[in-house]
Amino acid sequence: MIDHKANFRRGVVDGLPIALGYFAVAFTLGIAAKNAGFSAVQAMVESLTNNASAGEYAVFSLVAAGAGYLEVAVMTLVTNARYLLMSCSLSQKLPPETSVLHRLLVAFDVTDEIFGISIAFPGRLDPWYTYGAVAVAIPGWGLGTFLGVVVGNALPLRLVSALSVGLYGMFLAIIVPPAKKDKVVRGLVLISFALSFCASHLPALNGISAGVKTIVLTVAIALAAALLFPVKEGKEAQA
């Protein structure tokens, strides 16, 4: 018997650092939204319905530049395409019998962070764990954007700088323990670091957005690993 209540509470606890990090990131997004002519409420609605930092940033800059709706749609698709991959991954993490309603609800907030902790859930994912994390993370995200528009640059830069690494700390907490256990994952993490560093410092790749780089590198590295080191049946559930 799965204890949904306990899993929801666990999600809330794991969602707290996400909410803090979101608040900081969303705050800076709010500043960009203000420059694009969004009101505080509009910026907050954009955040609550999009749940994507890079994607929203792209939308704000396009709107500021006077782009059309089609351009915004295409750009949203490109900057958020990695969520397509993450949702494919999550579809294998959920119990196969999960209802369409739960699938539609889980889909709403597939972000780098919520995806990360959902994948780290032991065994099959209980959607209630994800809901718990989302329940604290989304208010942080929406409120951060709202306040970013209203108070702009009032938050000290030092504090924004410190809060902004919280999300990366969380990523480390997700990828390092499996890397300790599994040699292949360890190698992949190091290779990913190295190639990501190269991709963001090669002058030839300067024009490509961070979202596109993430997708290209993810597909290339994960595909090579899948061909070279196919995973044995049942290993996924342990990780």
């Binding site: 606890v13 650092p17 803090l20 990090g21 969004f38 009101s39 609605v45 999009n50 749940n51 709107v63 006077g66 059309g68 709706y69 915004v72 949203t76 958020n80 949702s87 494919c88 991954s89 294998q92 196969p96 369409v100 699938r103 539609l104 889909a107 709403f108 597939v110 780098d112 994948i119 830069l157 030092r158 700088s161 410190a162 902004s164 690494v165 919280g166 990366y168 700390g169 969380m170 990523f171 480390l172 907490a173 990828i175 390092v176 323990p177 993490v189 990913s192 670091f193 990501s196 560093f197 410092h201 961070a210 590198l217 993810t218 994960a222 595909l223 899948a226 196919p230 995973v231 290993k235």
Partner: protein, 101 residues
């Protein structure tokens, strides 16, 4: 003047479809070993790609970010919780930037 609410609607619709389509359409366990392996590796690769060098670029001083990366990786290696690792990274950057910036 374009309507901002329409921009919100368009971006929200696209964002949601990207996320919901695979979750709703892929109902069964994938049997193909290569595809399964690929999806197994995706999270670790994509989170690693997003962490570095972004963590170094996110802070005012790149050294503070690098220090946070090392401390965070060490604590995670020692099996510390998500919350502790995340907060430790923030504290390291705050402390380091008091001295560096």
């Amino acid at each position: 003047m374009k309507n901002i609410w329409l921009y919100i609607l368009v971006s929200a619709g696209v964002s949601y479809l990207i996320r919901a389509t695979p979750l709703v359409l892929i109902r069964r366990e994938i049997k193909n070993v290569t595809l399964r392996s690929f999806l197994y590796y995706v999270p670790y690769v994509t989170l690693a790609v997003m962490t570095f060098p972004a963590i170094v670029d996110a802070t005012q001083s790149p050294w503070a970010g690098l220090l946070a990366l090392l401390v965070g990786a060490y604590l995670a290696w020692r099996g510390k919780s998500l919350f502790l690792v995340a907060v430790a990274c923030c504290v390291v950057v705050f402390g380091a930037e008091l001295l560096l910036v």
